[in-house]
């Protein structure tokens, strides 16, 4: 693959060309030259796009693609297509499939489905057999097959001793354990954040207490075991405070927040619109402010779209019965840019890579090319026309977003929209 990118502004704080507009010459998947007015040596494909910006390829630590088992929601092939079109060069895929990905052959199946694609798919194996939170799955065997972390997607590890054992056991091979922050007995049958909106709608509330108790418990377990823990998708101000304190103890700890938990508050649920039914639930302004602060000071390590396609049959029903989740890849960049500067947005979209075993690939001469191409300044209303996912359950529908993606160059392939 040989390409000459013309006149692209480089947004990459790790690159010596950060914040400058350059031509980039790519030969055989490697950046061979960066400079002004580069000549096209051998009639290579030229890319000239309006207000073109490039950065390191983006990464999302939590996506769901349905396959195997829920192909009515989406497939791996279409999920990867969505990721590429949304600017992501790597995604970590959750094991909430059917069957749940809890053996090495399950992991191999996913890898086979995803191979030879511009987007790198990193499979997350289930932490426990069949995701039942009773016995550990074969974590080592799955690691050998390519599992990058272990997570029973959005299902808490109810038994603290099981999480203790998981953290200890995974230390043998440096496995990353993920624990969903929710104490189910406190969350009860809650379907949205417990606050004035849940009260006035008569919907059962899921209090932040449910998350905070679990985060506090997990931090104690991490400190005791010395393992390697990732807490996916926190949503409460107190969780941020707890994690900030824990990080002072130099624990091997990371956490993430879903973009929609930064963008929306629970008071948007005025008419029982199930697009707003997500887990963790949308919280309050105080929580959003604390989460934002947590991202700024590094307490929260990364953002995720927590992309979760849900078919219309599980969304166009009564609020209590509707499934949790929203798609998020397509809107991730545009939504983040309404909340943060361009530089911070790119930082948040690339930071999580190393935690999930991916190398950083700064835009410098001699490095492998792994980049996202975008125009950061367009403003548009996000509608179902912008959705590539098979399921159209976007929480961002009709929101005004900023910035659109042109595509990616990654794995020696180019994928432009």
């Amino acid at each position: 693959m040989n390409i000459l990118i013309k006149s692209a502004t480089i947004i990459d704080s790790k690159s010596e060309f950060h914040n400058t507009t350059q031509d980039i010459l790519i030969e055989n998947g490697v950046i061979t030259n960066i400079g002004n007015q580069l000549k096209n040596p051998k009639n290579y494909q030229e890319i000239t796009l309006e207000n073109l910006h490039i950065s390191q390829g983006w990464f999302d630590s939590s996506v769901c693609f349905g396959e195997p088992g829920f192909e009515e929601r989406d497939t791996i092939a279409n999920g990867l297509k969505t990721a590429a079109a949304s600017g992501f060069t790597a995604v970590a895929m959750n094991a909430n499939t059917h069957p749940i990905l809890d053996t090495s052959s399950d992991i191999e199946f996913v890898n086979t489905k995803a191979k030879n694609h511009a987007v790198t798919l990193l499979p997350i194996g289930a932490l426990t057999k069949d995701g039942k939170s009773e016995d550990l799955a074969e974590l080592y065997d799955m690691t050998r097959a390519g599992a990058i972390a272990f997570y029973d997607y959005q299902k808490p590890v109810g038994n603290p001793n099981l999480l203790k054992i998981a953290l200890q056991y995974a230390m043998n091979f440096g496995g990353l354990v993920c624990s969903f922050p929710q104490e189910n007995k406190i969350a009860g049958l809650g379907v949205m954040n417990e606050n004035i909106t849940s009260t006035s709608l008569g919907l059962k509330g899921n209090p932040t207490l449910a998350e905070e108790l679990q985060v506090a418990r997990d931090l104690f377990l991490l400190e005791y075991t010395g393992g390697k823990l990732h807490i996916p998708t926190i949503s409460s101000a107190t969780s941020v405070a707890l994690i900030r304190e824990a990080k002072k103890k130099k624990l091997d700890l990371t956490c993430s927040v879903a973009i929609h938990n930064l963008y929306f508050t629970d008071d948007v649920i005025t008419d029982f619109n199930t697009h707003f039914k997500v887990l963790p639930p949308l919280r309050t302004k105080t929580d959003v402010e604390a989460l934002t602060e947590g991202l700024k000071d590094g307490t929260i390590d990364m953002v995720t779209s927590d992309h979760n396609p849900i078919d219309i049959e599980h969304k166009k029903i009564e609020f209590d019965y509707a499934a949790n989740g929203t798609i998020g890849l397509e809107s991730a960049f545009g939504a983040l840019q309404t909340l943060f500067t361009l530089k911070k947005t790119i930082d948040l979209l690339t930071k999580g890579k190393s935690r999930f075993g991916l190398e950083q690939t700064p835009i410098n001469i001699g490095n492998k090319v792994n980049i996202t191409l975008f125009n950061p300044d367009t403003k548009y209303t996000f509608t179902t026309k912008n959705i590539i996912s098979k399921s159209k359950n976007s929480i961002f529908e009709n929101e005004t977003l900023k910035g659109n993606v042109y595509g990616i160059i990654s794995n020696n392939q180019i994928s432009l929209n």
């Binding site: 009860g188 049958l189 417990e194 606050n195 004035i196 849940s198 009260t199 006035s200 709608l201 008569g202 919907l203 059962k204 509330g205 209090p207 008419d271 029982f272 049959e313 166009k316 029903i317 009564e318 609020f319 209590d320 019965y321």
Partner: protein, 309 residues
């Protein structure tokens, strides 16, 4: 103003003050009608109404059916204690099947909050919410306010305490919205476990001492404990609940003033109120039931007149 601001009655929170006034004035007229020797008017001869009850109900269903028949509407009844989802059919499909038989209006009781709102967005019929989970029960709140107005002259400025299981109650929520809209003061009273943590943000007072609450109020609306909605025991025993939150005659007589006792029914005699309280002259429980028919006639009539336009 001679018409409602809404096309459906989904909850009190979607109404304005003038809507309530109009419903009351219309109910005044129908109350006179149902006390005539011939208790029926031909107003809705061309309207078909389906009563869809996805949850058990006796009095609300009877009250609606009677109201519909007094207005000469054609009535279709459908009851299912199981939700349609469990049988594999969606709510929208169930209702659309019924609507395709040319039904104009749907009265629905459903165990899920927001079921009426959801339906109103997806089917072509006027919807009356006859209770949706712990969300709203608007006609109950309207008949409660109407009964207060009838007994005390007006609702504005009155102090009303709602006692009991606030957490699981759609009646409490609709009453809070209705009373506040009309300028009454509202207090809720019950064990902390049965009061939503953030209810004070709705602008109501919270009191856990029943005697203080009764001394404060002009009207006490006593709610039933909804054991069927509880996933855990919120108090140790009915006996202990009654000790703290039951109203008996002795307590009622010890108050400085004569307060009005209301109850949306069904009453658990000896639990939230004793028989001598329920049957006392201070109780307007049976007036509420009679007013329920007039209020429901008014609501159906006003919504039907919007369909006809």
């Amino acid at each position: 103003m001679s018409e409602l601001s809404v096309n459906h009655l989904l909850g009190i929170k979607y109404l304005n003050k003038e809507d309530i006034q109009l419903i009351f004035e219309t109910a005044d007229h129908f109350k006179e009608v149902i006390n005539r020797p011939i208790k029926k008017v031909p107003s809705l001869r061309d309207i078909t109404i389906a009563n869809l009850f996805f949850e058990n109900s006796t009095r609300t269903k009877l009250s609606f059916e009677l109201a519909e028949k007094r207005l000469s509407a054609d009535v279709l009844n459908f009851s299912s204690s199981q939700s349609s989802v469990k049988k594999g059919e969606t709510l929208i499909d169930t209702v659309n099947n019924i609507l395709s038989m040319k039904v104009d209006m749907v009265v629905m009781r459903h165990p899920n909050p927001g079921a009426g709102v959801f339906l109103s967005k997806h089917v072509k019929a006027s919807i009356i919410n006859a209770g949706d989970g712990a969300h709203e029960h608007p006609t109950q709140a309207l008949l409660d306010s109407y009964s207060i107005r009838e007994t005390l002259g007006e609702v504005k400025g009155k102090k009303v305490v709602i006692v009991g299981d606030i957490l699981h109650s759609r009646v409490a929520l609709s009453n809070i919205f209705a009373l506040q809209l009309q300028g009454a003061q509202v207090m809720v009273c019950g064990p902390k476990t049965l009061i939503p943590k953030y209810i004070d943000k709705l602008g109501v007072k919270v009191e856990t001492d029943l005697i203080k609450a009764l001394n404060w109020c002009d009207v006490a609306n006593m709610l039933r404990v909804q054991n069927e909605r509880m996933d855990i025991n919120y108090f140790p025993s009915t006996r202990e609940y009654t000790q703290q939150f039951g109203v008996n005659k002795e307590l009622l007589d010890s108050l400085d003033k004569e307060i009005v006792i209301m109850h949306p029914g069904p009453i658990n005699r000896g639990v939230e109120i004793t028989s001598d309280v329920a049957d006392s002259k201070q109780s307007i429980i049976l007036n509420q039931v009679q007013n329920g028919v007039a209020i429901r006639m008014a609501v159906i009539y006003l919504l039907a007149s919007k369909i006809k336009q």
